[in-house]
Assembly symmetry: C2
Homo-oligomer: 406 residues x 2
Amino acid sequence: RIDGARLWDSLMEMARIGATPAGGCNRQALTDEDKQGRDLFLRWCRDIGCEIRIDRMGNMFARRAGIDSAVPPVITGSHLDTQPTGGKFDGVYGVLAGLEVLRTLDERGIKTRAPLEVVVWTNEEGARFSPAMIGSGVWAGEFSLDYGHSRTDKSGATIGAELERIGYLGDEPAEPRPITAAFETHIEQGPILEKQDQLIGVVTGVQGIRWYDVTFWGTPCHAGPTPMEDRRDPVQALAWLCERLYSEVKAYSGDARMTCGDLRAEPGSRNTVPEKVVLALDLRHPQPEGLEHLHRTLYRLAEQVEEATGAAIDVREEWHSPPVVFDETCIEAVNSAVKQLGYSHRRMVSGAGHDSVYVSRVAPVSMIFVPCAGGLSHNEAESAEPEHLEAGCNVLLHAMLARAGV
Amino acid sequence: RIDGARLWDSLMEMARIGATPAGGCNRQALTDEDKQGRDLFLRWCRDIGCEIRIDRMGNMFARRAGIDSAVPPVITGSHLDTQPTGGKFDGVYGVLAGLEVLRTLDERGIKTRAPLEVVVWTNEEGARFSPAMIGSGVWAGEFSLDYGHSRTDKSGATIGAELERIGYLGDEPAEPRPITAAFETHIEQGPILEKQDQLIGVVTGVQGIRWYDVTFWGTPCHAGPTPMEDRRDPVQALAWLCERLYSEVKAYSGDARMTCGDLRAEPGSRNTVPEKVVLALDLRHPQPEGLEHLHRTLYRLAEQVEEATGAAIDVREEWHSPPVVFDETCIEAVNSAVKQLGYSHRRMVSGAGHDSVYVSRVAPVSMIFVPCAGGLSHNEAESAEPEHLEAGCNVLLHAMLARAGV
Ligand SMILES: NC(=O)NCCC(=O)O
Ligand SMILES: NC(=O)NCCC(=O)O
């Protein structure tokens, strides 16, 4: 069994970095706060004798040697970056649960056959740099290193330059190597476990995600003298499209998701009809056909915008992460651990994307979920019970040991 | 008759300050560019021997002495500030037409009985600092000086501090004094004169304007795992309200106007439902009852937002400029000038707000409009014909002389 209090203390210590007045964290990828979080993690890993490697995407691998160095490692991990108004657990729990497993083994002097590694993936959130999970995505071969380095934030700073600036542009190639198995613990970020009073989510896969930059184009003109019928108003077009898309998405299926996370008008002057409105859109569905349906609904409505409102529209797909099914042997390792520990549980599909999505392309993977209060995440009020976090970490310990061999 | 070529050259020289690549101007109030524009205007006024006064709101008064210094001045003027993506004529024409009148009189050695003044009012556009026409508004007693000085731009800079920074915080009290008559020339900023092939608009008043900051409040949550029915999504609320308000405003009357000039989501992360969306809304109507109807429509729909979408809404009225009727003797002075000069013309109500709105509270006022291409304004492509600008300036010359006495 792991030490739940130590795990909790480490979570709380990490949460001080980028702490927000409302009790959350703002430790966005590759900021000074992210650097501080990484530094703290490195110090903790060195304290228990881990060997550290950092790759060209800033992904960090902390390795505890195994008895047989020829056996590929069993890995676990997640991310330390947060949303701009994020919580204390999203991602961080997965990293520090891995650290807690290593600390427990170290304390007990337990040796595993395969080496164990805890990984911190770069820019999982996709909040500062789009898309999400880009560190694991480049590592797994989904994106090129050039693509990864050239992604920009809203101010134009690139991942490559920011990695260099905070001193985390490593030497190791960002590419996969043999992995025996990978596990990731995470808060559910949704309401199911809590509502059904289950302790552990045995995660069988991740739903599909498509991201779009939607630009509505109008003609800037004066708010007063210009008759309504002479206008090409991008806000009118935005309202027209969103009203219909929300209602079609909701009518289609309870599993469908639509989120308009960011919105910006230019030039943004109250008495000028904007030249354009830019919308950052996120559509999700657990089934490929469902996601395809949402995608086609968006394009069908987009085709009608100009005739309906006069304003033009441009839809650019920014990212597509199809639904993923995890490895049956890894799911089974989690399942056995849960049963052995006597925890209530259910199988479930993740609603959020995780680094495990890309890791699963090159290694057998599964995930372990624990409840979070009200299912709330990407919110400064995100919260989780110490006993739940401890339970999830115990499952991780057992699953890793089962696959690594003692 | 004034010198149309000289007027045009001055307009083009002023347009170089803050010139944008797309052929417009970005010379927002109290920026370095505004300072350069003011400096240039001052130099031109001093060249013809004007006496300059600057008040506590940065309003600039350039005075040409009259024969009888006991007679209150006849004033004209407008503003040099522009929208972020503004044109070369909005406001500037009214200032430089006034200067051209003084230059013409100077050249011919013509003395007027009343002194003549050309005024540059501070922050007419309302683009950088809300509300619009605040320099003339403080001067006329609509707003206190404290209110004026404390208005902030998006970055938090105040009018008071910015006036000081660019060196235009003057000593004169920003308050009215006796004025014989005031005139303001301006491009129409709408399509009526052009469509009806009329040269001069004899402006009888200005329609009413109400500005609102509308905030939609949601609960930030994760774009993936959170079921649609559990969300409080401020973008959904925005779309719901705008769809209905646009359609009610358009159905109400061809004279009604609705503009959503600025829009911002916070925290603004694609995979997080925003905590809030802030909308800068502008409603207009030429009749007080019409404007009141639009205002009540907004509040009626706002009351339904929470029940319809789950998100909360807060509507804060930021500014109310009721419809204004200009002084009949000033309107008649313009009318006579137009007839004397043989120009085609029509009476009309201004769709845009102007400094004349506030000046009209303390002095007899009217305005002179000339056409602009396609009725386009608050757009970098704003354009006007040299002969039209010349004609409007001739009308101004005649109207001012009629009221000042030669
Ligand atoms: N776990 C998590 O919050 N991931 C961010 C990527 C996503 O949008 O699902
Ligand atoms: N003339 C002009 O563009 N004024 C700005 C104030 C308004 O919004 O009407």
